[in-house]
Amino acid sequence: MQTTAAAVTALIEEFAKLPGIGPKTAQRLTFFLLRSPADQTRRLADAIIRMKEQVITCSTCFNITETDPCPICASPQRDHGLICVVEEPLDVLAIEKTDTFRGVYHVLNGALSPMEGIGPKDLRIAELVARVQHSSGEVREVILATNPNYEGDYTAAYIAPLLRPLNVTLTRLARGLPLGGDLEYADEGTLSRALEGRRAFEG
């Protein structure tokens, strides 16, 4: 028995797959779009498709970008001797919002997690080591800003010995971030304090 138009049900289902959106919100969004002007829904659809077609990853830092290198890697205003290593592009967004960080980034594309089958080869770890190596001494400091949970901590502990022989200072974000938290959810104040209070990393 089909009571609702199949196209409506299909869109609800697609929305419900998105993180943070439950079935109820999915339903609300769908019915909102159903009632909104056609050109508005077209703009939304176009934006989604353009995002998917035009966004690439930066070949230096692996952040998402429309140009390669990305604006941050290309900027002479940024300190290229200071690399902040994060798990996800969203973490870059969160740190950029604090407006306190003048260095550049390296996006790992996740964290090591044996139970999910994510090993070193699945992340941009080799690329990070090569990047520091080939900078011929320009890179002074690497901040291991992976999430303060087991997987993030393990990832930092895994990377540290690979970078240590390359004569760079290794730091880790100061606590103040709740354990088991995600960087992208930390508020800007907490995040800027954590950045300023970063510590030398022994791991």
């Binding site: 797959k17 079935p23 090993g119 070193p120 087991y150 997987e151 088991g180």
Partner: protein, 411 residues
């Protein structure tokens, strides 16, 4: 402490229960399958934030309920004042649920993700659920304010005694570890946190061991997890050893009263920690032991050392009751341990736990039945269920308030 009230909404077979309780003894009488154990389950959840028998939270939500959530709410009188505790369990209907109505299909919005899952408390958040399945959620409120589940374990302490506990002595070691964990989690938040982190570390580490065995990872990657495992294992072992020591005198006394020759509890950790050592030294020693086991662990792809392999033995003199005890002796030892748990929690928290006896009286012979009821004389709140009201000794029956449960309603 005691529950002043208990409200259940769409929890198991209770559609809308409003129960006013208070200090004292309560006998919940009813035929089979009327909701006695469901009531005990709800009370126990107030203490542990997780069900002792449900595989998934979804089971807790009343079949065909319109809202697809269950709610447990209670006003609790503690020695230090009263508080209101609420647990809201939301479980979107599964496709198989024949009662899922079109209207209800979209109800049960995912709340704040349950970071905790009861004893699996404090885990770092899991990655988002696969799209095919909408995650169920559990929300906790204390005096109306949202709290994380792990911070609420042990706000209420409950000692539950049910027929399955009578098999504690002869059952699997995991049941005895579970006993230690549930008791300690109610006493100590830091134990609860350590335990949940420990489970996370075990999962990651065993996956890593298998990856190393299959040449997908480097054995040196274990160094990190060895350190984490040791740092969590040592305090867990020390706490468990302390608990067993504290339970010993009461357990022994009860066993003597039951006519045995006493009872000695023997904690058997998979790795014994010298409690005299400074913690850092103990952790280093544990890590060293792990290093010596590394090759075997990799070959087997299993965590071989740590509290997840501990056990607890029940000794009468030199005799291990699990091996040589009679059925009656084994049940008596389980009973003695439960009463010792009651006392240990009271001493550690400064407040008496609520005692919930789910249908155990009919399982005990008259001596043990009398010993149990005599020992609970001082407890501020005892909730006892039975399908055989005649089995309750007269004195206890007369001192209690009787509640009759029928098909999810209590009158």
């Amino acid at each position: 402490m005691y529950l002043e009230s208990l409200d259940l909404t769409d929890f198991r077979n209770y559609e809308a229960l409003r129960l006013s309780l208070g200090a004292g003894r309560f006998i919940v009488a009813g035929d089979n399958a009327q909701g006695k154990s469901n009531l005990c389950e709800a009370i126990r959840m107030l203490a542990t934030m997780r069900s002792f028998r449900a595989g998934t939270d979804r089971e807790l939500v009343r079949w065909g309920s319109a809202g697809h959530f269950a709610r447990i709410a209670s006003d609790i009188a503690r020695v230090d004042g009263t508080l209101r505790l609420e647990i809201i369990i939301s479980a979107p209907p599964s496709a198989e649920d024949p009662l899922a109505s079109a209207a209800g299909l979209w109800a049960g919005e995912q709340g704040s993700r349950d970071e905790v899952g009861g004893m699996g408390a404090g885990l770092p958040p899991m990655p988002p659920a696969p799209p095919s399945r909408v995650a169920a959620g559990k929300r906790i409120k204390v005096n109306g304010a949202a709290r994380r589940a792990i911070d609420c374990v042990g706000l209420v302490t409950v000692v539950l005694f049910e027929p399955a506990d009578l098999d504690l002595v002869i059952g699997s070691p995991s049941g005895r570890r579970h006993f230690m964990d549930v008791t300690l989690c109610q006493i100590s938040r830091s134990y609860c946190r350590a335990l949940s982190h420990y489970q996370r570390v075990l999962t990651q580490r065993s996956a890593l061991l298998r990856r190393i065995r299959d040449n997908q990872d480097d054995p040196r990657a274990l160094d990190y997890w060895d350190g984490q495992l040791a740092a969590l294992a040592v305090p867990i072992i020390i706490e468990r050893a302390g608990l067993v020591t504290r339970c010993m005198p009461t357990a022994d006394q009860v066993a003597l009263k039951l006519g045995g020759r006493g009872l000695r509890l023997e904690y058997q950790p998979s790795y014994a920690v010298d409690a005299e050592l400074p913690p850092a030294t103990a952790v280093a020693a544990f890590t060293e032991k792990l290093a010596s086991l590394r090759r075997r662990e990799i070959a087997q792809g299993v965590n071989l050392l740590g509290p997840h392999r501990d056990d607890l033995a029940f000794m009468e003199g030199p005799v291990n009751l699990a091996v040589y005890g009679s059925r009656g002796q084994q049940r008596g030892a389980a009973l003695a341990l439960k009463l010792a748990e009651l006392e240990a929690i009271e001493i550690e928290t400064g407040d008496q736990p609520i005692l919930v006896l789910d249908d155990v009286l009919s399982e005990l012979d008259p001596t043990r039945r009398a010993a149990l009821l005599e020992s609970v004389g001082e407890i501020s709140q005892v909730i006892l269920t039975t399908a055989e009201p005649e089995s309750i000794p007269r004195a206890f029956a007369a001192s209690a308030r009787w509640l009759n449960v029928r098909d999810g309603e209590i009158g």
